[in-house]
């Protein structure tokens, strides 16, 4: 058995070596994607292009505008003179947000009336808009608090009310709230999944399409040996991928790696098992490489989107949350982020490990069954 397996492995690696671009295609795209993904994936909202229309021109209105500038979240791209200009700015996409302070703002504030502040936001990108509006309401609250304090201090004799509850924020695991720390471990998992599933799903189909599967079938090799021989090389490639891009993540992007590398290796192995199972299962459903490729494109995107890579699983409808349970990437992302940023140990991640092991076993088992059937 071992001898036959060794021969099978030799054949696979020979095939890889004879394709002179194969190694290049395995490594270079991965590195490019890692770098590009690493920089591109961000939900941070900074320098929101902002247009300002100050019709009040009072000290209070100027102070409010300076509050916007001071946060660094907003970048004033246009100081408008008319409402029409504001409309044009937003329509043309020159500004994503507009602040309009109407005449009489300061007077109303002083008289204890409500002073309307108009904020227009381009809601096309709902996420950016939502975050920008959050900043705006913080700025307004702060401005209000300052004005209130000033007003209270003014009447002679009355002690300024000092009562205040402060929120002391302690973000753990990512003190700088740098969202690259969140995305890069996710990129490692996603790239590995795409690479390994694509390679594996082509593996068996290619032999079938080229007619070499029949040659293998007449050899004394058993289905188990065949599957092992097909998957082991990709397992090793996958492990190499993870190591390579993890090193890039740590050295290039300076993502902290506080956990135990051993936990990552165990988690990666289980994840690769599930990814290999997925690829093999796909290849048993395909007769041609075209079909395998189509299936690949069909499945990779949902698996990527429904993994928690960028969009929180908790925000999905319940039915889709169930779907994420069969997504190995979901579990791997939890593992790799926990190890990278939190440094948690094996025992905490046992449920994720178990889930990936079960997924891997089920998919590999199913594909072996289906493969044996197709041999008969």
């Amino acid at each position: 058995m071992l001898r036959r397996l060794r021969v099978m492995l030799m054949k696979e690696f020979l095939e890889l070596r004879r394709d002179k671009w194969a190694m290049f295609r395995l490594v270079v795209p991965l590195l490019i994607q890692m770098i590009v993904f690493g920089y591109a994936a961000t939900f941070t909202v900074n320098h929101v292009a902002t247009a300002v229309l100050d019709l009040d021109r009072s000290q209070a209105s100027r102070s409010l505008v300076s509050h916007f500038v001071a946060t660094g979240r907003f970048q004033i791209v246009d100081v408008a003179a008319t409402q029409a200009q504001i409309t044009r700015d937003i329509d043309a996409g020159k500004a994503d947000l507009a602040v309009v302070i109407h005449a009489g703002f300061a007077r109303k504030l002083e008289n204890g009336q409500s002073a309307p502040l108009q904020v227009v936001v381009d809601g096309t990108n709902s996420n950016t808009a939502l975050i920008a509006l959050g900043y705006v309401s913080q700025i307004v609250a702060q401005f209000q608090a300052e004005e209130t304090r000033k007003a209270w201090a003014a009447p002679a004799g009355a002690a300024p009310p000092q009562i205040a509850v402060a929120l002391q924020e302690r973000p753990w695991f990512n003190a700088g709230l740098d969202d690259r720390w969140f995305f890069i471990p996710g990129v490692i998992g996603t790239l590995t999944l795409v690479q390994v599933v694509n390679l594996t799903s082509f593996a068996v189909v290619r032999e079938r399409e080229m007619g070499t599967l029949e040659q293998i079938m007449v050899s004394p090799i058993t289905p188990v040996e065949f599957i092992l021989g097909k998957t082991l090389p990709f397992f090793l490639i996958g492990l190499g991928d993870v190591v390579l891009i993890t090193v890039v993540g740590v050295l290039w992007f300076h993502i902290p790696f506080v956990g135990n590398p051993f936990v990552v290796v165990v988690g990666t192995s289980l994840f690769l098992l599930a990814a290999l199972g997925m690829g093999l299962l796909m290849s048993t459903f395909s007769r041609t490489q075209q079909q395998a490729f189509a299936l690949n494109f069909f499945l990779i995107n949902p698996f990527f989107i429904l993994s928690g890579f960028a969009f929180p699983i908790a925000a999905m409808p319940t039915v889709l949350q169930w779907f994420t349970l069969i997504n190995p990437l979901r579990y791997f992302l939890i593992v790799i982020r926990a190890v990278f940023l939190k440094g948690v140990g094996l025992h905490v991640l046992l449920p994720e490990f178990a889930a990936m092991a079960i997924l891997g076993a089920v998919m590999l088992g199913l594909s072996m069954l289906r493969f044996r059937k197709s041999l008969d």
Binding site: V120, S137, I163, P171, A294, N296, I305, L306
Partner: protein
């Protein structure tokens, strides 16, 4: 170029599509499933953040504060904690993503010094969720402070301040309810088309090589241009069908407001489909193994289209070199057009630049594709 040979080539290719029902089924079903999964799955609307409370004081004040967190509706309080050790445990296991600690001397410090702190520890792994949750928490605390201050002022007989309130009412344009669906779905159309287009054509020539039918094809009088057009035309119709399906689904199923000019959108869609198919075709001519072609197609379509088109991640927020790189991503222009036509109601005059970019791209790709294929066997 002979029309008869072109038609024969297109006919052969259509037959091949027709006789591979699995691939065809995937090409036709893919939009449906992707639309549903992505349309519903992509959401950043974070509600009910799981929160643990560590109330060390158990006073009237502290309970009132906890009550406010619950009443805000933004948080679901999952646990009462007691010790530091269990905070770390709760965070490690992910039972909650935030812990609010009210210190044992909270109300005493508040009464004597006038200001007291509430500590919140957040699991900042998911920065976006953390930022949103922190915003909610700040809102709760600000409200509490205002109420406590008013009570305090009332008790101490401080004259009520005569300062007015800033009445801030945000107006959201183009996507009034700030629904992430309206933002995502138009982008999803571009992603689906790009994926299908590349998947359809990127193996079309390498398949002939691997199967050995290339020699037959070359021995016929068909010209390179006829091969290209004959291969692209049937897929162009598959792509347009998918596009039409996605547009209908977006408008009638997902209720994404459609405010713009349909003709502009259709023209852009046809251009985009052409670009996508053309890129797939060029890949398949250049790389003779199907596996290799599939890897390159994944790299050149999946990655840029999902990451650099602005479909989920805002391009303006990326570092300058990556923004420059995104100018090369054809999907970027189509995503811009889709969003503008759907939500902003833009017409062709507003969208000259992105449409011009697509036209240039299509012209370049067709030129390259026409010259890529050589009738040679080596």
């Amino acid at each position: 170029m002979s029309i008869r040979r072109l038609l024969a080539m297109a006919y052969k290719e259509s037959l091949q599509i027709w006789r591979d029902p699995r691939s065809l089924a995937i090409a036709l079903l893919l939009p449906l499933i992707q639309m549903v999964l992505l349309g519903y799955g992509v959401s950043l609307d974070i509600k009910r953040v799981p929160l643990c409370i560590d109330d060390q004081e158990h006073s009237q004040f502290s309970r009132a504060l906890v009550e406010r967190f619950v009443a805000s509706g933004w948080f679901s309080v999952v646990h009462d904690l007691d010790t530091d050790r269990s905070i770390r445990d709760a965070m490690d296991h992910g039972t909650c993503i935030g812990v609010v600690t009210i210190p044992v001397d909270f109300s005493r410090v508040l009464a004597t010094t006038g200001s007291a702190g509430v500590q919140t520890v957040f699991d900042a792994t998911d920065v976006n969720t953390t930022n949103i949750a922190l915003g909610y928490a700040q809102g709760v605390i600000a409200q509490t402070t205002a109420d406590f201050a008013a009570q305090w002022a009332g008790r101490h007989g401080v004259r009520r301040a005569t300062i007015g309130t800033v009445d801030y009412e945000p107006r959201v344009w183009f996507n009034e309810g700030l629904e992430s669906r309206n933002f995502i779905i138009p982008g999803v159309i571009a992603v689906i088309l790009a994926l299908i287009g590349a998947q359809l054509t990127s193996l079309t020539i390498s398949r002939e090589w691997e199967r050995g039918t290339m020699e037959q094809l070359i021995s016929t009088p068909v010209t390179a241009l006829e091969v290209m057009l004959g291969k692209l035309i049937p897929y162009f119709f598959v792509g347009l069908f998918d596009a039409a399906f996605c547009l209908v689904a977006a408008i009638s199923w997902f209720d994404v407001p459609f405010r713009g000019d349909m003709a502009t959108l259709l023209a852009a869609t046809a251009l985009f489909t052409l670009v996508v198919l053309g890129i797939g075709y060029v890949i398949s001519v250049w790389i003779r193994s199907q596996l290799g072609a599939s890897q390159v197609a994944l790299l050149l379509t999946m990655v840029p289209v999902t990451m650099l088109s602005g479909y989920t991640f805002a391009i303006e927020q990326m570092p300058a070199p990556i923004q420059a790189l995104s100018l090369l991503v054809y999907a970027r222009y189509y995503v811009t057009i889709l969003r503008a036509v759907f939500l902003k109601g833009s017409g062709i005059s507003d969208l000259m630049l992105p449409i011009l970019a697509l036209v240039l791209y299509a012209a370049a790709i067709v030129l390259i594709a026409a010259h890529a294929f050589r009738k040679r066997l080596d």
